[in-house]
Symmetry: C2
Subunit: 288 residues, 2 copies
Amino acid sequence: MDGQYLPMSEAKISVLDWGFLHSDATYDTVHVWNGKFFRLDLHLDRFFGGIERLRMKLPYDREAIASILNNCVALSGHKSAYVEMICTRGSSPTFSRDPRQAENRFIAFAVPFGSVANKEQLERGLHIAISETVRIPPKSVDPSIKNYHWLDLVKGLYDAYDKGAETALIVNTIGHIAEGPGFNVFLVKDGALRTPAFGVLPGITRRTVLDLCTEIGLPVTGGDISRAEIKGADEVFITSTAGGIMPVSRIDEAMIGKGQVGPVTRRLMDLYWQKHDDPAWSTVVVYP
Amino acid sequence: MDGQYLPMSEAKISVLDWGFLHSDATYDTVHVWNGKFFRLDLHLDRFFGGIERLRMKLPYDREAIASILNNCVALSGHKSAYVEMICTRGSSPTFSRDPRQAENRFIAFAVPFGSVANKEQLERGLHIAISETVRIPPKSVDPSIKNYHWLDLVKGLYDAYDKGAETALIVNTIGHIAEGPGFNVFLVKDGALRTPAFGVLPGITRRTVLDLCTEIGLPVTGGDISRAEIKGADEVFITSTAGGIMPVSRIDEAMIGKGQVGPVTRRLMDLYWQKHDDPAWSTVVVYP
């Protein structure tokens, strides 16, 4: 923050920063696994795309940010980490309400790697409930700008807890499946994969699944998924930088497939983690 | 913050607070004018309503929060101030992603009173552009929970700047007028007032205009307003705690009425400021 490296307990932002007061910010999160960043280039692409669309400016280029991220991980000592880069609108020295007057701010931090699903859930599959809450539509907020507007997802999460589930899927404006709190979703039916394409975050792990399917010749498409379709799928899994590819074994009252991790999901999970050692998709962290 | 009173420059929150990382927070802003809070009760009602709907809990009751707000103003010494109270989800001591595990946090601060419209704009009326951006709909985020999800409003603001206007109105899901960045809007046509009713923040200044209209016998309704209707109005004004009732003299290419502050707007503005000395609507700040 502000050119300094600090312990996480001292990493604080002004309550007057519009990144807080207006959630006027974009961010990206990349993970480090066994001392290597995974697909850092794609995360930097998305982060710089969001900054441009929000009309923010930073004094750092890609190389400078990659170097700062490396330093955050190296100084923290984490071998597996969740590494976040943030650009906030900042605030104006003159208290102006005009966002063009604000001095944009860059923050980055590394914390221990965390997952949407815990060990038990990764083995038996997550239990998910579908909430009636509608994901904030693209006409309101461009989902390709990765953003902190999460109250719809938090509402979905509480709806899911009320139904005894562990996490949630929320819907798009026409009532089809959109995404969940911090993850995209895929179904497998008769050997083919499908993932929602409209109004969802273009997740890097989602993209990675598309790439892996292409590589091993599995048919995959982006398109609408109804509630009935997802509940009738052979397999369902979610994708997130926080945990990778994670199986789902129950949606509302419906058991998915045989109620355990299916073979396509298992194959993709294995391949996903193998790829973390592929030099084409990883960047070695330089520790001091 | 955390039970301490600090200078604004030291008022900082952890970057790990979900109030920042997920904009998982509600807030309210009340103003102090000439040493008196204006309609503090209504702001506290809305704030506590938002906290309940977000399923947050604070260790303070209304009286305790009113006392903290008084202290923020008194210690700052401001006679006219913009006073914000915030409840964030906080964060979990165990790094859990479950919002039920988080320790909710209360923050309050007082800064000098600011206005959406500056002195010149208050005299000649604001120039506004209508953006195609759609206000985040109620099915995504309940607008009665005052929240920091502003990227739609920020987009509208940049659209307005691009058209040479000073601020923006954005639309609802069916393309009618919704609201602007931090304000509601009213039109006057043939002596009657109208303000959008669907999917907008139930603003306290909006409510105050409704109350004033009732008091002086002006007809006012909540209902849809098309773009053509607002451009063809006799008068248009916006309402916000940050500035009160503020005239609009131009919308896109259209001059509103005679292009100056209209008589109904003027009458309501005068009455609004007079009411700041009415004991029924104000609470005296106790300075040390």
